[in-house]
């Protein structure tokens, strides 16, 4: 069964969506991600959609759902690399991807996630890692 690979980058998880998503694949991804967030104690999820030229309402809902699930598990989600054509289509469709943060690329996405972490720990990462 095909699965979308999930990579670990420090306290974050990275997912790159490159293929057409269908129901089964989306469900599997949600399941895998939630399990990994808990297992790795991840504090953030980066979803890279730079390869997607078309995003429909199905994918939009999937992204929003992943974000909600992750938040409950104490991880923030950032969607990165949205192509201009996709953004225009989503706006025309009236979809605002509520509750989903976005960034232009992975670096900026990580900055956002790191920023939120720093705020939480009061900027003192060392104290946190000593555990």
């Amino acid at each position: 069964m095909e699965r979308i690979p999930i990579l670990k980058m420090g306290p974050f998880l990275l997912v790159t969506i490159q293929v057409d998503m269908h129901d089964r694949l989306a469900e599997t991804l949600q399941k895998d991600l939630s399990e990994r967030v808990v297992k790795d104690g991840a504090r953030g999820v980066l979803i890279d959609i730079s390869s997607l030229e078309v995003v429909d309402s199905f994918i939009g809902r999937m992204l929003a759902r992943i974000a909600s699930i992750s938040r409950i598990l104490d991880a923030e989600t950032v969607v990165v690399g949205m192509q201009p054509a996709v953004a225009i289509t989503l706006v025309e469709l009236g979809m605002s991807l509520e509750g989903v943060k976005t960034a232009l690329n992975i670096e900026k996405g990580m900055e956002i996630l790191q920023g939120s972490l720093d705020v939480e720990t009061g900027g003192d990462q060392d104290a946190h890692q000593e555990n």
């Binding site: 949205m82 201009p84 953004a87 225009i88 706006v91 960034a103 232009l104 690329n105 900026k108």
Partner: protein
Amino acid sequence: MADKDKSKLGEILRKYESELLEHWVNEQLSSVTFRRDLISEAQLREQSSEFVRLLGQRIDGGNYTDITTEDWGPVREMLTSVSDSRAKQGFSPSETASFVFSFKQPLFDRLRKEHGKDADALAEDVWVASVLVDKLGLYVGEVYQQAREQIIMRQQAELLELSTPVIQLWPGILCIPLIGTLDSERTQVVMENLLQKISETGSEISIIDISGVPAVDTLVAQHLLKTVSAARLMGADCLISGISPQIAQTVVHLGVKLGDVTTKATLAAALEVALRTLGLEVKSRQK
């Protein structure tokens, strides 16, 4: 019977070419609508004689009704070049078409002389000649219109190109100065260009400056807001600057909701916000 009459038309044109020409040129020169300021007598004479000559050559071929066929090519070409040159000189389309229509007078006069008492033959020939001249006159008018359309289309394309430069003010800050009237098509192009540049350069802030836009209507405002929404979806943001007092009043009057889009009166003010957002600051050097 019909053939005999029709062949007379061609015959007459060739036999009386110089008389017809003389009569026609005088008619045109003495007409109240003659544009002495735009065309010289010599040029008029040249155009007229060319027309009569080609017409005479053509008519003998037998086809008087369909001027779109290949054998009417030389006449059409000649009329096209007359139309083009007159358009450049500043003639209106009807003035240009009148050039051809005015040929009827000398032609009918000559036909009357030739057909003498034969009313039927005269009526027949006059009719054929009239229809033919009408078609040629209309052709001239159409050619004129087409040339105009091409100019308009070319200018529209140029206008489109003029309007969409995206400038990088600073790493991470883009600026797009909009100039002129924004219509749906242009705004679409602007939107796509900007979003593409945002993606390419990874710039988080774009400043859309509308100082050069004289007026904004609901449609344009909506397009701008859509651009901002799309940029935000991508992970960037937009500021709108250069809002004139008039536009500000129009926007409120139209009830357009700007939501939480930051708007500034000047580009400088917007730049300041952008720098601050990126955590940058401009300081004077210590002396």
